[in-house]
Amino acid sequence: MKFLVCISNVPDTTTKITFTPDNKEFNKAGVQFVINPWDEYALTRAIELKEAQGSGSVTVLNVGEADTEPNIRKALAIGADDAIRVNAAPKDAWFVAQQIAHYAKEGGYDVILMGKESIDYNGFQVHGMVGELLGIPTVAPAMKLDMSGNTATLEREIEGGKEIVEVNTPFVASCQQPMCEPRIPNMRGIMTARTKPLKVVEAVGEGAATSVAEYALPPKKQGVKLIPAENAGELIKLLRNEAKVI
């Protein structure tokens, strides 16, 4: 079975977010980029399923410029077999989805996995768009994924619960915890990753459907009002009479 795992390159979760002086772009200076944490679930689960099946392949795909290659190599070190980098800045979800759909179709993948969303732009869109472009089901967000032959059993999170869903390949799923324990690269993986194939291809399709006019940071808090612990009950009165939230 052929797995395609789509990864995005995002600022590390500890990053303090700042923007360029005109507030039009994220300020990348000094920022450590990582594989999107949600995508790690997709990657590890694909590798586990391939191992369980004893055959098949896991390909990672990233839409990004050359600076994303260290994280693509990391994905190869974790256990993917080969990689595709679509050489373009990921302008928006629609742009990225077109790239994935095109190369997924070209490669004839059975299972297309990705994280539920990227932790930078938080679109939660790409999986649905890819499914729609390819005319195949999308299960999002999936907390569990098991395969038996060409049939997958997934747990899809819905507000307040979950649905057990069965779909046949090909399908798209976006992944989140507790699907698996994301793996980290070991020494052997790091060594072999250097020579695994990483193909660079050009972008296809239309441009972006949306653009960002300006970024802003959340307004700063006014400062904390401290209530002495021995008068804790006073807090509740403030929440009712001053903040008016209870």
Binding site: G128, K162, E163, P218
Partner: protein
């Protein structure tokens, strides 16, 4: 032409987040000089749908197909696309829920629309172009996104817009059929399992949240969190380290890699306030922090704070809430 609003229903009731979405759609319709039509998904009743008039909805399309009770991506997408077609809707508004955003992304492709998810404010409308403010960087920032396509789809974040209630207004409920076939139900669930939630309040829908961190010292102490939550009518949540060690289920994990919440009141008990946790809660309207360490970074992001032992403070708070009556 009208604005189409997707309302999610559960056990006959329209979800709170969908009442907000209905109000949002009605206000956009008013700005555009048109009306707002709703299309219902989930388990709905005609009487409750008619009440969407209170949020400014004129007409509700209702497909009485029983299999629409549970979320089916394929069928929901087709139903909403058919409704948009019939109503010639250039703007579709839905909730930024797992259901709304899943369907929204498929619709964006099918209807060739520009899509914005996680939207927190009404759009600025100039000519045919919308600019919407949306959450980005997992709650650490906002982005003003420009939707320039002829069709726009907006997924509204919960608790960002207040639902209007104009008592006495009713919407006209019309039977609607999208001619759904078995193929549209290919991803229908085999089984639906709902969680047992303390007090029956779901975290993603809650407007008050009581959350615990490692400072709670163990799952056996969670009754202190639950008692305060029950007294307040709040949902319970936790920090990442707590769900990582399985003191609490993962769906309660609030933060950058868990869920992002924006309740009116967020009470953090024994949570130090790592940047990843703050990202998940900093759009809450009022934040209360209880921590015995006065240097805990969370105090900098809080409106109210108590420096003290959670095991002593929590019972006092619960008692004080009960005394309010």
């Amino acid at each position: 032409m009208s604005v189409l609003v997707v309302v999610e229903c559960d056990k006959g009731e329209v979800k709170k987040s969908s009442l907000e979405v209905a109000s949002y759609g009605a206000q956009v319709a008013q700005a555009l000089g048109t009306t707002a039509t709703a299309v219902a998904v989930g388990e709905a009743t005609e009487a409750n749908l008619a009440q969407l008039g209170e949020q400014g909805i004129t007409k509700v399309l209702f497909d009485n197909e029983p299999r629409l009770k549970d979320f089916v991506n394929g069928a929901y997408t087709k139903l909403i696309a058919a409704a948009a077609q019939q109503e010639q809707s250039q703007v579709i508004v839905l909730a930024n829920s797992n259901i709304g955003a899943s369907v929204g992304s498929r619709l964006a492709v099918r209807l060739k629309a520009s899509l914005a998810t996680n939207v927190v404010e009404l759009p600025k409308i100039e000519g045919g172009q919308f600019t919407v403010k949306r959450g980005a960087f997992s709650g650490k920032a906002f982005a003003d996104m420009v939707l320039s396509g002829e069709r726009k789809i907006i997924a509204v974040k919960k608790n960002s817009i207040e639902a209007q209630h104009n008592a006495g207004q009713t919407a006209q409920v019309e039977a609607f059929s999208a001619q759904l076939s078995d193929a549209d139900f290919a991803d229908a669930p085999k089984q639906v399992v709902m969680q047992d939630q303390a007090g029956g309040i779901l975290l993603p829908e809650a407007d008050k949240v009581v959350s615990g961190g490692r400072g709670m010292k163990g799952p056996e102490n969670w009754h202190l969190i639950e008692e305060l939550a029950t007294a307040l009518g709040a949902a319970t949540a936790c920090s990442k380290p707590v769900s990582d060690v399985d003191w609490r289920p993962h769906h309660e994990h609030v933060g950058q890699t868990g869920i992002t919440v924006s309740p009116n009141l967020y009470i953090a008990c024994g949570i130090s306030g790592a940047i990843q946790h703050l990202a998940g809660v900093n759009s809450s309207k009022v934040i209360v922090v209880i921590n015995k360490d006065p240097e805990a970074p969370f105090f900098k992001a809080a409106d109210y704070g108590i420096v003290g032992d959670v095991f002593e403070v929590l019972p006092k708070l619960t008692q004080a809430v009960k005394e309010l009556g």
